[in-house]
């Protein structure tokens, strides 16, 4: 079901944890859908020098969080904002179709953290135009497996 890369990032997730005195914190998803991602960024100048995450969710939610943190660490804020869910999924050698929403969540978590940072510092990023961190994510397109009979 999952690629080796997904299983690797799930079983050995990178950058798990919290950053004390983080410059930016963003949380997306909700318990109802079964995925919550929280991202912590340490920002110096316009560079993301450190990033950590905490995730409540399935295997692919944990793997996409891990991969997204790797992909933005050491990058500029602008580069991080250009991270797409597709790029995260590709870096993991793909996700099953029903799990693509997890990669969307990872992209949103990065954006939500930077959105909060921008708001606090009075900064403006054109990449965040139209972004709403509280938006309900239309991300469920599960299949219809049945069992037990």
């Amino acid at each position: 079901m999952y690629s080796e890369k997904v299983m690797d990032h799930f079983s050995n997730p990178r950058n798990v944890g919290e950053i004390e005195n983080a410059d930016a914190v963003g949380q997306v998803g909700n318990a109802k859908c079964g995925d919550i991602m929280k991202m912590y960024l340490k920002i110096e100048g316009d560079t993301i020098v450190d990033v950590k995450f905490k995730t409540f969710g399935c295997g692919s939610a944990i793997a996409t969080s891990s991969m997204a943190t790797e992909m933005i660490k050491g990058k500029t804020i602008k580069e991080a904002l250009n991270l797409t869910n597709r790029a995260v999924a590709e870096a993991l050698d793909g996700l099953p179709p029903v799990k693509m929403h997890c990669s969307v969540l990872a992209e949103q978590a990065v954006k939500a953290a930077i959105y909060n940072y921008a708001k606090e510092k009075g900064l403006h990023f054109e990449e965040l135009e139209g972004f709403n961190p509280d938006e309900e994510h239309d991300h469920h397109d599960h299949g219809h497996d049945e069992e037990d009979h």
């Binding site: 997730p13 109802k32 079964g34 919550i36 995730t55 409540f56 399935c58």
Partner: protein, 392 residues
């Protein structure tokens, strides 16, 4: 070889060697069509009859009340649609529960599209229906009550005898999906007042793809599979002889030593439940504490998600299942866990471990040893855990 512990007996069971041995000749040596007049056919007709009679005895049913189907889901479809079609001129109201298997729930939803009214009874925190609510739901046009014997997810056993009595008092046909109960509970269809009952072989160490519908003599029901005259003209299609023979053998073995089987499962299940509750904080047992299937352990583990848990368990060779959305195949977590009043986040963290005849004490202890560190690891990753861990 890496240690492997199978604790998903409610999903399916391995076939017993005796069952397989009994079936094998019927694939190639004794291959005749039971409907044929020649000896090849005749000997298979008697093999089918023998299995039917063995199974009937385990239920205190008549041999002419057992009708083989292609599995439990077909039996559910037949029981419900067959009665609905036969009695639709009398009434179009059906009563069921919110915790049924999808084979019953989706069939009822299909009937609703066809102009039937369906009442879905609530259950209490243990997954038990309330008899008063059942009585209150009965209307003059109620033609069918379909309530499962035992729940596949949380193991709760419904008060079948009381339901049977009410159905009889009101002259309403009573169907029960006993797929999970068969082989784990003694079932006397006459004593319990059951009119229709669905069973499946692969839950009792028999083959997949074979089930049956018990139809009490005199019950009005239409066929749903039309064709040849098999199964006394009620279910067409050449009999799956090897599977029927296997079903018969599995039923015989299941009821030969049922008390011993139940005792063994209950002992192991309690060891598992107690062991986990002792070692892991913030977990809850789902389902009824005592009126539950002997092999069923269903727990909610707070602050973590079920699929991640299953993947980690799989890595150490432990096979279980979960009611989380990510494994249920829908937007929401299991309808059963929602019906017993769990919040979404707690329902997502459910783990079902079901014990069977090949489970050992060593297996159970292995799970009690392996699960706590996995739970702790996932909790350390969970933003939901941050809030509580400070106080611990």
């Amino acid at each position: 070889m890496k240690k492997r512990v199978y604790l998903d007996y409610s999903a399916t069971t391995p076939m017993k060697k005796e069952v397989l041995d009994e079936m094998l000749p019927f694939f190639n040596v004794q291959f005749g069509n039971p409907s044929s007049i020649h000896c090849f056919g005749r000997e298979n007709k008697s093999a089918v009859d023998k299995a039917r009679s063995t199974i009937a005895k385990t239920l205190n049913a008549g041999v002419d009340e057992i009708f083989f189907t292609g599995g439990g889901s077909e039996a559910d479809n037949w029981g419900i649609k067959g009665v609905a079609n036969a009695l639709k001129d009398k009434g179009k109201h059906v009563i069921t529960t919110k915790v049924e298997h999808h084979a019953v729930l989706h069939t009822c939803q299909y009937l609703e599209k066809d102009g039937f009214d369906v009442t879905y009874l609530d259950v209490d925190q243990y997954g038990m229906i309330k008899i008063d609510e059942l009585k209150a739901a009965i209307r003059p046009d109620t033609i069918l009550i379909t309530i499962m014997f035992a729940n596949n997810e949380i193991g709760t056993i419904q008060p079948i005898k009381e339901i049977g009595k009410i159905a009889k008092d009101y002259k309403i046909t009573f169907h029960t999906d006993a797929v999970q109960a068969y082989g784990n509970v003694k079932i006397d269809v006459k004593d319990l007042g059951i009119d229709l009952m669905s069973l499946s072989a692969h839950k009792i160490y028999g083959p997949k793809g074979i089930g049956l519908l018990y139809i009490k003599k005199g019950t009005k029901i239409h066929p749903i599979i039309h064709g040849g005259a098999q199964e006394r003209r009620r279910r067409a299609g050449t009999e799956n002889v090897p599977a029927i023979v296997g079903f018969g053998k599995a039923a015989e073995l299941a009821y030969e030593n049922i008390d011993e089987h139940v005792n063994q499962l209950v002992t192991l299940r309690n060891r598992l439940i107690n062991g986990l509750q002792e070692k892991i904080p913030y977990i809850h047992l789902n389902g009824h504490p005592t009126k539950r299937l002997p092999g069923n352990c269903n727990i909610s583990i707070e602050f973590i998600e079920g699929e991640a848990l299953l993947l980690m368990l799989d890595m150490v060779g432990i096979a279980g299942s979960s009611g989380s959305a990510c494994t249920s195949g829908s937007l929401d977590p299991s309808h059963v866990l929602m019906a017993i009043g769990l919040t979404h986040e707690v329902a997502h963290g459910s783990l079902r471990l079901t014990i069977g005849d090949y489970t050992t004490e060593e297996d159970v202890d292995y799970v009690i040893e392996q699960l706590p560190p996995i739970v702790e690891r996932l909790r350390q990753m969970s933003p939901l855990y941050e809030k509580v861990k400070g106080g611990r």
